[in-house]
């Protein structure tokens, strides 16, 4: 059926639009389900080849802390997943400088390489997105 072009055209239509998706993470990892749910949604969006960025503000920066061990609270430690994001072509991770500093942390304390941005620059980044999803 190689002479049939209908299927090819449909594929092109489906893959045509790439939007800028921004995921805003503002909650610490285990006290509520937000952080884990955000990660799930990020991975889904990645499967659709969208332009994905993640930002971490306020207690959201704790999601990226190194050395998380959750056996004794009997929940899944999902922090290694942030390291796997690169494999899904998600490489734009931004952390708000003020939030990190307020918590006595530095980029060295984080499980993945990130770009540190002051709030004002983060606001610019946010403004330039097509879709903003907050967790």
């Amino acid at each position: 059926m190689s002479e049939t072009t209908g299927g090819v055209e449909m594929d092109e239509d489906v893959s045509g639009v790439i939007k800028k998706f921004l995921y805003v993470n503002r909650k610490a990892p285990y006290g509520t389900i937000y952080a884990l749910e955000s990660l799930e949604v990020v991975l889904i969006a990645a499967a659709f080849d969208q332009d994905v960025s993640l930002v971490f503000l306020d207690d959201g920066v704790y999601q990226l802390a190194k050395g998380q061990h959750t056996k004794t609270i009997d929940v899944k430690n999902f922090s290694p997943t942030y390291r796997a994001l690169e494999g899904y072509d998600i490489e734009k991770l931004y952390v708000e400088k003020e939030s990190l500093e307020a918590r006595g942390l530095t980029a060295e304390d984080l499980i993945v390489p990130v770009t540190l941005l002051p709030a004002a620059e983060m606001a610019e980044l946010m403004d330039g997105q097509d879709i903003v999803l907050s967790f």
Partner: protein, 99 residues
């Protein structure tokens, strides 16, 4: 950009962070418990008034009314109904719902 805030400023820092992040010319719509941030004479009133010089602030009137806060909204905050909510979403290129 349109920002929405649905939590009380006395319980969460969402409004404070939103005010910091909202760029000049953007709009903020206060809904649900977020409407407590739209009132006169509170600990956050001055911050909200200051922000109103650069951004347009709206509050969802049904949520204000439900909480018995009629007549307490800061002058200059625009009160909208559900239709107005829809218009705001349609008028802006993107929306950020602060949690």
């Amino acid at each position: 950009m349109l920002h929405t805030v649905n939590k009380s400023p006395f319980e969460r820092n969402s409004l404070e962070r939103c005010l910091q992040y909202a760029k000049k010319g953007s709009a903020i719509l206060l809904i649900e418990d977020g409407v407590y941030g739209a009132l006169k004479g509170t600990a956050v009133t001055d911050k909200v008034k200051k922000a109103m010089k650069n951004v347009s602030i709206y509050a969802l009137y049904p949520d204000i009314e439900a909480r018995g806060m009629q007549d307490k909204a800061i002058d200059g905050i625009r009160l909208v109904d559900y239709g107005g909510f829809v218009d705001l979403v349609a008028e802006h290129r993107n929306v950020h719902s602060w949690l």
